[in-house]
Amino acid sequence: MVASAVIQPRDVQDVSDAILDGARKGEALEVRGGGSKQGIGCGGRAVRCLDLAGYRGVIDYAPSELVITARAGTPLAEIEALIADEDQMLSFEPMDYGPLSGAPPGRATLGGVVAANTSGSRRIASGAARDHFLGFQAVSGRGEAFRAGGRVMKNVTGYDLPKLMAGSWGTLAVLTEVTMKVMPRPRTAATLLIAGLTDRAAAAAMSRAVGSSAVVTGAAHVPAHLARLLPVHTLAAAGTSVTALRVEGFGPSVTVRLESLMVLCSKLGDIAVSDETDTRALWRFLRDAGPLAGDDRPLWRISVAPSDGWKVPAALGNVAADWFFDWAGGLIWLAVPSTSDASAPLVRGAVAQLGGHATLVRAPLSVRNAIGSFPPQLPGVAALCQRVKSMFDPNDLLNPGRMSAPIPAA
């Protein structure tokens, strides 16, 4: 998206004015935070950019209430540093999309994290941004400021509009203020590494581990070709695939959880243990799709039932692809050769067969505009989403086209 004029709102009224002005002139707005996810979605007809990056600052943070409220443009890094001082974290482990599209790290804002429903490897245990998003203030495409949700942990007063905003990519309303749940940071962490498993065997191992009472908070599998990039010292030299299982918590707990995983996995292959420091580095790398961040091939982010993940690359035939798995196999990061369609028919076909969906998170704009970034939807769901959009943004002013579904091949 390329919008020429930039509006930097100072307050909620400015946001409302910008939308009303856009409505009057028929000019759409590109809603932007730090710009770390600009490489995702289709380009629209936005004329002006509504830049929230300056609309920042923590409004309220009471560590013992496990809740933080901040303006939408507040950098994620600032939030994370502030709560880390109190030994707390955003437990959904939001990834940083920036480096995938060549942007510097650390540009994400809290509003952007929510708007994209970001998550990380801990998704299997703690959910995504949606699961920690308690309340907000926003200005809808109607130009009106409104609030929903609350500033407490448990609330069912009215419809759960925070869920609707999470993952709507700024197409329904412009978030101005966001309240998130925070959680204590685990005191320590460790990772069990297993060498040499095939994709299929790794899927089974991850499933057993996550289904055990060890409470695994990260389960990833990296095939041999990419495993050499991992920041682990013990097994990386072996030249084999690496399957990683993370446990976190208090010291005594991590020790026994790790032991139970070792019993579960010892017969599967060579095993090794990553200490806390290596564990933090490894999962940060995996969270940010590190193994595939360093090139510019089209990159798909695919979500399927965890036990089906290994079948996706297997269905691609002789396409020269690279991939690795997170979420116990339920998330596949898949890089494909640079072509005009990013192998979309093949990838989407394979994923559709398994009942999952694929989002193109890295590709030139021309490719994204040609095939659509976001996954196609069943007609009934698509129609419902369209009705929601037309209710909240009747004039199609906010990020028009960004989430548009792929255009079927002629």
């Binding site: 609330n155 759960d160 499933s207 036990s307 989403c385």
Partner: protein, 497 residues
Amino acid sequence: MSLKMPEPDRDVLARRTEIVAALRAIVPGEGVIADPDALCAYESDGLTAYRQTPLVVVLPETTDQVSRILRWSSEHNVKVVPRGSGTSLSGGALPLEDAVLLGMSRFNRVLEVDYPNRVAVVQPGVTNLAITEAVREQGFYYAPDPSSQIACSIGGNVAENAGGVHCLKYGLTTNNVLGVEFVLMSGEVVRIGGKGLDSAGYDLLGVIVGSEGMLGVVTEVTVRILPAPAAAQALLIGFSSVEDAGRCVSAVIAEGIIPAGMEMMDRLAIHAAEAFVAAGYPLNVDALLIVELDGPPAECEHLIETVSAIARRSNATTISASRNDEERLAFWAGRKAAFPAVGRISPDYYCMDGTIPRHALAEVLARMREMSESYGLRVANVFHAGDGNLHPLILYDANRPGELEQAESFGADILRLCVQVGGVLTGEHGVGVEKRDLMPVMFTRIDLAHQQLLKCAFDPGLLLNPGKVFPTLHRCAELGRMHVHAGRLPHPDLPRY
């Protein structure tokens, strides 16, 4: 009934025979209940102060039947109220005189348990506890555990976003549902989510959960099941003041501990519970905390020690740790029986459900004591202490003229107080009809209009469960006009300072 429900549609009442016949053509046999005596069983849910005999009850067995019922009703402008097990405490399933009551109790099968993906696919009439029972042998369970879990249905849990004592650590219904099939009022069947973790497009799943049966009728639910923790242990901690108990809760969280459950009871609740189940609660305390810790035995032991030390620092007067599961369950027995226990010391009680920031607990309880005196009604408190969800139980006698109204008025004052200190009207019971008219305390007209925009996207004719949640349900066309449109802006050229 002091509550104003939408004026019944005379035309629909007059067409009752035709409506019953149409429903019988869709659901044969005993699936349509029109006999006035039999209809009485459906006249209220868990909020028994409000009663209304429905026009007719229909109990479909298949998604196709649900779809045909809704399509026919939609085409003939007949309202529909969905109902699960009828345990709602906010009147979410309260019938309407001119509406079909759509009971989902026959959707009672567990369709699939998929252990490798840790999900269960169930029909909405399956009870909450039955899910856990279906997977327990393999060492799994379904985490959200509302206290009505023996009876309440998972479909109702989805509609109300039910919580329970374990939701601080394991989340509410919304965090444990991965997919649903539901039917729109138009009859269209929609499937969203599934066994994967992310769903595509807008998070429609997230808004269906907690929509109080007003957006669609859920016909299938895919839930996440979790491996059961290897062990669980509980602490029973007494304090001579609520303030000390509150400080202890904050200190536990500051230590980085998220207990599986952390419940507080005040003096009246403690005494009522002890008199009822003899759980072994200390009676010379003003506040009692139950803290449950789970995980591998080594972790439980470590955390029990840590929390006990925190409790001692917070001036606890008594501390006991459960030595086995029997003792742990005994600790919980009093808390779980708190509502019926209060029912024994008073002819009637009215259960409230606000959430407050925890730091405001002492202030809220003090203000509540003042209100209790001025209303002349006693109040007992049980409190999900970890997440700030407060359940004041107002004791009254419905046989004394005016006392129900007094209790309701007291309850409304408590909820206003919750909002005033930064909290919300309902933590887990839902708005329903009970808190409907209090919504403007928490939300502006514009806030509520934006919630209703969602309703209009799903049910533009406003035929599904009307009269709930919104104090005023605007016609969808009217709602659109209330708002700004291009070219018709209010004072677009006025300068702003």
